[in-house]
């Protein structure tokens, strides 16, 4: 392992850990601005996490060890996922072990443990949230895989860094297939991260909630880890999107440590714009009924498959 590889890997993990709550805070701030509210500070998620770490945990009497372990597993899975997504550089030693399909599996693992923990206590809300999460998950996963397959076919590999490098160095052209899959990916991102058309992240008391219903029973450090994992998940999805559709500006191939440094402001700029766009989408759309969620995800799946077919037919 060369020093630059270790440097890239370490920097990416640190950046993900540090920047994920900031990204979430930025999205919330933009959303507040667009909705004519006084915006909370961008640092609010950090303060929330710090506050939660200082509290004493309260755990239900009938909780099994799974309930205690789930936050660590979910957080760990998200962190590993952050390690194999090329957000700044493509020379990541971790990615030899896991390609894009394993990444989807990693995200699924986190989902499974979160849902199991939600059902563990046996409250009505937890079970309800877990079931809904599973419904969204089983529809979003094939769509996400399809999106990844389109990019994989174009660059003939399933390793994310290789895909990003390939797409970043290709000549510019109009790719209808990539445009379709980019839209599909945006829909998946919204659904998977419990954003507005599917779930409202700003509510704790609503019968239609999904994500919040699952973490209702958690407190203190467990809740802090869950919240941190949630922000990491959003950050990860954004970075997958960058790797597949906006791969420019990341450090590739023979670039030295300087190119790695140069990729930091590029990533920051991408995240800033994406956060604003995300907040805009959330502001202009209304929350769908839960029964409309399959339709929403069917559209995402359809767009991704259409992208694949168009690429196979037109070669574009």
């Amino acid at each position: 392992m060369k020093p630059i590889e270790i440097l890239t890997q370490g920097l990416e993990l640190l950046a993900a850990l540090a920047a994920a709550p900031l990204f979430l805070g930025w999205v919330n701030q933009c959303r507040a601005w667009l909705q004519n509210r006084r915006a909370p500070s961008v640092w609010l998620p950090y303060r929330g996490i710090r506050k939660l770490f200082h509290k004493d945990a309260v755990i239900a009497e009938n909780a099994s060890p799974l309930f205690r372990a789930a936050p660590y597993i979910v957080f760990g899975a998200m962190l590993v996922a952050a390690g194999i997504i090329p957000s700044m550089g493509t020379r990541l030693p971790f990615t030899i072990a896991a390609d894009a399909i394993a990444l989807v599996g990693l995200l699924a693992t986190a989902r499974v443990f979160q849902s199991l923990a939600a059902m563990d206590i046996g409250t009505a809300f937890g079970t309800l949230g877990a079931r809904r999460e599973m419904m969204v998950g089983f529809l979003a996963e094939p769509a996400l895989l399809m999106v990844i397959f389109v990019a994989s076919i174009i660059s003939a590999t399933t390793a994310l860094p290789a895909i990003a490098e390939n797409l970043a160095t290709q000549t510019l052209g109009l790719y209808p297939s990539l445009a379709f899959t980019a839209i599909a990916f945006t829909l998946i991102l919204l659904a998977e991260n419990a954003r507005i058309p599917i779930d409202n992240p700003a509510t704790h008391l609503e019968l239609t909630m999904i994500h919040e219903a699952m973490v209702l029973e958690y407190s203190a450090r467990h809740l802090a880890l869950m919240e941190w994992a949630t922000s990491l998940k959003l950050f990860n999805y954004a970075c997958i999107g960058f790797a597949l559709f906006l791969p420019w500006g990341i450090s590739t191939g023979t670039g030295g440590p300087l190119s790695l440094v140069a990729s930091i402001p590029v990533l920051a700029a991408k995240l800033t714009v994406t956060g604003a766009v995300l907040a805009f989408i959330e502001t202009i759309s209304a929350k769908l009924r839960v029964f409309r969620a399959p339709e929403f995800l069917a559209i995402a799946f359809m767009l991704a498959v259409l992208g694949l077919l168009v690429h196979l037919l037109l070669g574009a």
């Binding site: 052209g173 209808p176 445009a179 069917a298 259409l306 077919l309 168009v310 196979l312 037109l314 574009a316």
Partner: protein
């Protein structure tokens, strides 16, 4: 992809967007939006024809692009919008299949169409031959739109979008049909919409609704008198 010229890339983009629009039509519940989508489809067809005319230098393609603009972007959507206003039908009922199911059927249809078009594309010598598959897919998806809808309005929109698909297919396979054929088809479509408009009024007069399943029973029963929806006749529905 990197080797193809920019105008061919644009043409491919138009083709892909046409396919996307067909899916949007398949998923759309509101008739007004359906007509708007048809107008956008016409506009895309206009752009594609212009691009092809510029690329090949065939003069008659400019003419047919103008015909497309006048007829499919302006006149027909305007006629349909007027019909919708006068008939007061803004909503379609739920389609026969749910939206997700329709989408999946649509995807299968697209795969079938691409397979179907492969031998045709192998015979064609035009630069746009790979888009023939998309044209066939648009035609078949319009069929699906017509099959899964009950209301007369959406069936007409499906019919017109099928005509758009045929036009695009002819364009990408042989750089357009002879001028006389194109004029004939344009006139046919225009007359068809006018006649169907008259039909709509007659259907509504007769059944107080534009639901076409009233037309499925052939025999005139006493229940068919005005404002009483007929019982579905079992023996006829088997056909």
């Amino acid at each position: 992809m990197a080797g193809t010229s920019f105008d061919l890339q644009l043409l491919n983009l138009c083709a892909a967007l046409l396919l996307l629009l067909s899916f949007a039509m398949l998923a759309q519940r509101r008739i007004v939006t359906l007509v708007n989508l048809l107008a956008i489809q016409g506009a895309l067809l206009f752009v594609a024809t212009l691009l092809l005319a510029w690329r090949t230098g065939e003069r008659h393609l400019y003419l047919s692009a103008g015909l497309t603009l006048a007829l499919k972007v302006v006149l027909l959507p305007w006629l349909l919008h007027r019909l919708i206003r006068r008939l007061q039908v803004y909503w379609d009922t739920e389609p026969l299949l749910n939206i997700s199911g329709t989408m999946l059927v649509g995807l299968l249809v697209v795969v079938f169409a691409f397979g179907l078009a492969q031998p045709i594309a192998a015979l064609a010598s035009t630069a746009t031959r790979s888009a023939i598959g998309i044209a066939v897919a648009v035609i078949l998806l319009s069929f699906v739109t017509m099959i899964t809808r009950r209301k007369a309005m959406s069936q007409v929109v499906g019919f017109l979008s099928m005509e758009n698909g045929l036009f695009f297919g002819a364009m990408s396979a042989t750089y357009g049909m002879p001028m006389i054929v194109e004029f004939g088809v344009a006139l046919d479509v225009l007359v068809a919409v006018l006649v169907l408009g008259v039909f709509f009024f007659q259907i509504r007069e007769q059944f107080d609704s534009l639901d076409l399943h009233h037309l499925e029973s052939l025999k005139e029963s006493p229940a068919f008198k005005k404002s009483a929806p007929p019982e579905p006749v079992q023996s006829v529905q088997e056909h």
